[in-house]
Amino acid sequence: MPFLQALLNGILVGGFYGFMVLGFSIIWGVMGIINLAHGEYVMMGAYFAWAMFRAFGIDPFVSALLVFPIMFVVGYVLQWLIINRVVERPHLISLLLNFGISISIANIYKLIYKADYRSVTVAYAGSFQLAGFTFPTVKTIIFFAALLIMVGLHLFLHRTRVGKSIRAAAQNKEAARIVGIDVHRVYAITAGICIGLTAVAGAMIAPIQPIFPFMGPIFTVRAFAITALGGLGRIPGALLGGLLLGIVETLLTIYVPGAGAKVGTAVSFIILVLVLITRPQGLLKGLRPVEGGA
């Protein structure tokens, strides 16, 4: 495969990664919570798309729109009822809590859907040619949808009242309280948006990804690696980190024989370890202390 085509494939995957990581990165940046259940929300989105496709023949990209409000409510309620009780307490507590939540979700899904691999096969699963390159149709749609959502999220965070209150809470919690922002409500809204968007990412990749209850952890690990590369809570950073990981993963799979099957999932770990050893503060402005905020 020519190098440029491989690069293109990496960029398409990377755009998706940049979008997939946003929920993880923003929750970390705003609340200082490391959401170990991140991958499980990807999984829930993917199962939703699969179930809607199987039952009603609904296209996964339509499901991606439908799943947002549902998972927004799930995220909001989860934060309001449970996670707000441990937010701003030592990080280990929220870390363990989210670890428990991730195991619970994965096993509940195993009970409901069994551990079998599921897949969604859409009619446009192939690819098209453009300017001498091969574009896998689904991945291309995902890439542009991801960019569109990122722009939308950026505008939301910078132009709307709620968005500004989220940024304010991330930058200075005491000050946010002083100007009258209900920080715990902001946390719940943030969790709703982040978990909603994460599920959207899950629904979108349903056509190109085997769906099973334990597919989550690799996405959580990728989220860690991308955050180390691109930094916390910043959308351009997430995109850059996502692109880097996507390109590295794709090139390794293509140019190192057997790497895709054998080290594939380890790539994220290796990148994470390398970044932490060489630049513990992250590659860009990167991994600041969790108190630092977005």
Binding site: R161, K164, S165, R167, A168, Q171, N172, E174, A175, A176, R177, I178, V179, G180, I181, D182, A294
Partner: protein, 254 residues
């Protein structure tokens, strides 16, 4: 040196009621009471300064008023209404603004955005614009820096932004927790002059905590001395500055 304001205390008529009344409060963190029976009054148009050594509970007084710590006993009245253990949002809406000791700006927002956030609870955008315009008139420096990220302001400019933002809500009173903390001596003087100017210009009522006893009291009408969670002295600022005990303890002189 600036002329103390102590002589210009507004004359209280029988009708004038305190705008802030703290009645014998006990408050603190966890099991322990930091404040043990503190009472204070602030009248409209006054600048009142609370001084005391580290750990005396000065900041706790403010946190109690603002609902950041639990008040176990006693009452706090603001503008005739009880605000004991009220949430910060409620206290703000009653017209009590606060400039905390720790930096309270949003570093990665512009000066203008910071001011907008100060009126977070106001949904009428025309009113927000008008109020920001009003603050820009009080602080022309902030207008010049409107589109600059707050993190690149100087220490004095930051404090100015914090005060300006607090004034956006047209507060009936302003709480200031150590306005001089972390500022260069020259800047401290500017900030106190600013507070006095606001007091004469717009009749702003201020209750402040100060580590910097001399400058704090010189900028004030009245003062309270807080030690080990209790008020040990109170009176006109000039009287406290002349009080031998206060001088010995806080001013290092006779």
């Amino acid at each position: 040196m600036a002329q103390p304001l102590a002589q210009t205390v507004p004359t209280r008529t029988a009708e004038s009621a305190p705008i802030l009344k703290i009645e014998d409060i006990y408050a603190g963190y966890g099991e322990e009471d930091i404040l043990r029976g503190v009472s204070m009054e602030v009248y409209p148009g006054e600048i009142v300064c609370v001084i005391g050594p580290n750990g005396a509970g000065k900041s706790t007084v403010f946190k109690a008023v603002y609902g950041f710590v639990n008040v176990r006993q006693g009452r706090i009245l603001f503008d005739g209404q009880e605000i004991t253990n009220a949430k910060p949002q409620v206290v703000i809406q009653r017209g009590l603004a606060m400039v905390p000791q720790l930096p309270s700006i949003f570093p990665q927002m512009t000066v203008y955005e910071n001011l907008e956030m100060g009126l977070f609870l106001e949904r009428d955008s025309r009113k927000v614009k008008a109020r920001i315009e009003y603050v820009f008139e009080l602080f022309p420096r902030l207008r010049e820096r409107a589109n600059v990220m707050a993190e690149s302001l100087s220490g004095g400019e930051r404090r100015m932004l914090e005060i300006g933002r607090a004034l956006l809500i047209e507060p009936k009173m302003l709480l200031m927790d150590e306005p001089s903390a972390g500022l260069a001596p020259l800047v401290v003087r500017t900030i106190f002059e600013l507070v006095r100017e606001l007091n004469t210009k717009i009749g702003l009522t201020v209750l402040m905590i100060e580590q910097n006893v001399r400058q704090g009291l010189e900028a004030s009408h009245r003062g309270y001395v807080l030690e080990l969670g209790r008020i040990t002295y109170q009176g006109k600022a000039q009287e406290l500055l002349n009080n031998p005990d206060v001088r010995r303890t806080f001013l290092g002189g006779r």
